[in-house]
C-alpha cells in the first residue's frame, strides 16, 4: 500500500474533459492534476462549470469525452458506483441529505469504499451536534448541521479523495470556521481534497493550489506561493 504521505503520487488526472447536459456543451476541455494529500480548489464565477466538473468526474453528467484517470485507472466509461469504490467521497452542493432517513441513517448510508474510514464515535466526537440529534429526521437539521452531516457521512466510508462542493455556502461564520478546522484536520491525515469554493478567504489558507475555471475551461492555475502576486488578477476573474 502506498503511504498517504508519499509525495507526488498522482491520484487524479483529468485531461481535455468535455461534458454535456443533453445538447448543452458545458465543459470545454478541463485539465486537472491532483496529487495524493493535496488540497486544491476550483474557483470561478457562478455557472463557470465547477459543479459540473465534479459531477463529470463521477459520471453524473450526460455524455463526456476526454480522459479521467483515478489512481492510475482510466475511469471515463465506468458506471458511477464503481468510481466511488476507488475511494471517492462526494459532498454535493445541495448537500443531499435524505429526508426519509434519520440523521444516523444518513450517516451510515454510504457503503465503505476503502478500509480505514473513521469510526462512528470518532465522527460524533468531531461533530457533537450530530450525536445529539441522531434520531431526528435528516432534513430537520439546521443548514449548518446538514452540511456537517454531508461531510461526516463520507468520512466514514474510507474515501480518500473528497469532492466538496461549496460546503460553506450560506453558513454562519462559526460554522464556516468549524469546517475550516475539519479540513485542516483532514489534510493532516493525508486526505486528498478538491474544494469548490466561492468563499476565497476560506479557501486560501487551506489550499495548496487553485484552479480558476471560466466557461468550462481551466483558465489559470495558481500555486499557494504565487498567490500574493496574483490577487488582483484573481479578483478580476472572480468578479469580487
Amino acid at each position: 500500500m502506498t503511504s498517504a504521505f508519499q509525495p507526488d503520487f498522482e491520484q487524479l488526472h483529468v485531461e481535455d474533459l468535455h461534458a454535456f447536459y443533453g445538447e448543452s456543451h458545458i465543459l470545454h476541455g478541463i485539465d486537472l492534476r491532483v496529487n495524493r494529500g493535496e488540497l486544491v480548489t476550483l474557483l470561478g464565477r457562478n455557472g463557470a462549470g465547477k459543479t459540473t466538473t465534479l459531477r463529470a468526474i463521477l459520471g453524473l453528467t450526460g455524455r463526456r469525452t476526454g480522459r479521467i484517470s483515478l489512481n492510475g485507472r482510466d475511469i471515463i466509461g465506468w458506471p458511477t458506483h464503481r468510481i466511488a469504490h476507488l475511494g471517492v467521497g462526494y459532498c454535493p452542493e445541495e448537500r443531499g441529505i435524505f429526508a426519509s432517513l434519520s440523521v444516523e441513517e444518513n450517516l451510515l448510508l454510504p457503503p465503505a469504499v476503502r478500509s480505514g474510514g473513521m469510526g462512528v464515535e470518532e465522527i460524533y466526537a468531531m461533530f457533537p451536534n450530530l450525536a445529539e440529534r441522531r434520531r431526528s429526521q435528516g432534513t430537520r437539521l439546521s443548514g449548518g448541521e446538514q452540511q456537517m452531516l454531508a461531510m461526516a457521512r463520507i468520512l466514514r466510508t474510507g474515501a480518500n479523495l473528497l469532492l466538496l462542493d461549496e460546503i460553506t455556502e450560506g453558513l454562519a461564520p462559526v460554522i464556516v470556521q468549524k469546517l475550516g478546522e475539519v479540513l485542516t484536520a483532514l489534510k493532516a491525515k493525508g486526505y486528498t481534497v478538491i474544494l469548490v469554493e466561492q468563499n476565497f478567504r476560506f479557501a486560501a489558507p487551506l489550499a495548496d493550489r487553485h484552479y480558476v475555471i471560466e466557461h468550462g475551461r481551466v483558465v489559470d492555475e495558481i500555486a499557494r506561493a504565487a498567490l500574493p502576486g496574483k490577487m488582483d488578477a484573481l479578483h478580476t476573474r472572480l468578479g469580487v
Binding site: L60, Y90, G96, F98, L101, L108, P110
Partner: protein, 294 residues
Amino acid sequence: MDLFNIPLPAILSQLVVGLINGSFYALLSLGLAIIFGLLNIINFAHGAQYMLGAFAAWFGLQYLGINYWVALLVAPLAVGAFGMLLERTMLSRLYREDHLYGLLLTFGLALIIEGLFVQGFGVSGNPYATPEALRGPVNLGFMMLPKYRLWVIVVSVVVCIACWLVIERTKLGAYLRAGTENPRLLQAFGVNVPLMITLTYGFGVALAALAGVLAAPIFQVSPKMGSDLIIVVFAVVVIGGMGSILGSIVTGLGLGVIEGATKVVWPEASNTVIFVIMAIVLLVRPAGLFGKEK
C-alpha cells in the same frame, strides 16, 4: 346491538369478507408502491403478473406435481425472475423518459400476456384445490370462516408488516428509501443502483405473484382474473397516495373493510364505493391520504 336493523354477526362477517379482499388489495398495492417509488413507473402489468402467479401455481400442481406450499415460494420466484428480465431488457430503457412511457409499455405487456393466456387456456376459469391442511371452517364465534380465507388474511398482514419493517427499520430499507429520493446521489456513494432497481422490480412483481398464488384456491385461475382486480387496486393506490408504503397497506386493508361494510348497508353500492371514495380523495387531497404534496 343492531345497526339499521341488521344483526351484528352479519355485519362482522361482511367486514371479515371485506378484509379478505383487502388482503389482496394491500399486497398488490404494496408492490405497486415499492415499484413506483424507486422506478417511477406505474406498473400496469401488475394484474397480469398476479395472474401469472396463480397460473404458475395451477400449472405446477396440474403438470409438475408441485404442491401449494412449494408453489407459494416457487411461483413468486419464477414470476419475479420474469419481471427482472422485463426490467433489464425493456423498462430500463425508459427511465430517462416521461412516466407515461413506462405506463404504456407495462400496459402493452399486460395485454400481450393476457392475450397469450386467453389463446392458450381460454377464458373460463380453472379450479385450484384448497390445500388439505387449510380445508374446513374455523369458528370465529360470530361466523364460520373457511380456514383458507383466514390464512389469506394472516399471510397478507404478516407479509405487509414484514415489508414495512424492512423498509423502515433496516439498512436495506434505508437504501430503498434513499434510492427513491435521490438515486443518482446514492449511486455516487457507491451503491449499485441499477442492480437495486432490477431486484426491486423483481420483488414487487413477486409480491403480485404471491397474491396470485393465494388467490388461486379462492377465485378461479383465469387469464382475466388480474385485469378485473387491478382496476380496483389502482383506485386503492390513488386513495392511499402513489408510492406511499404505509398508505398502500392501510388503505388496501381499510378499503376492503369499507367495501364489506357497504355490502351490509347498501349492497348495490359495494362495487362502486371505492371509486366514490377515490373521487372524493382526489378532490380534497389530490396526493392521496398518505402521499406527499409535490
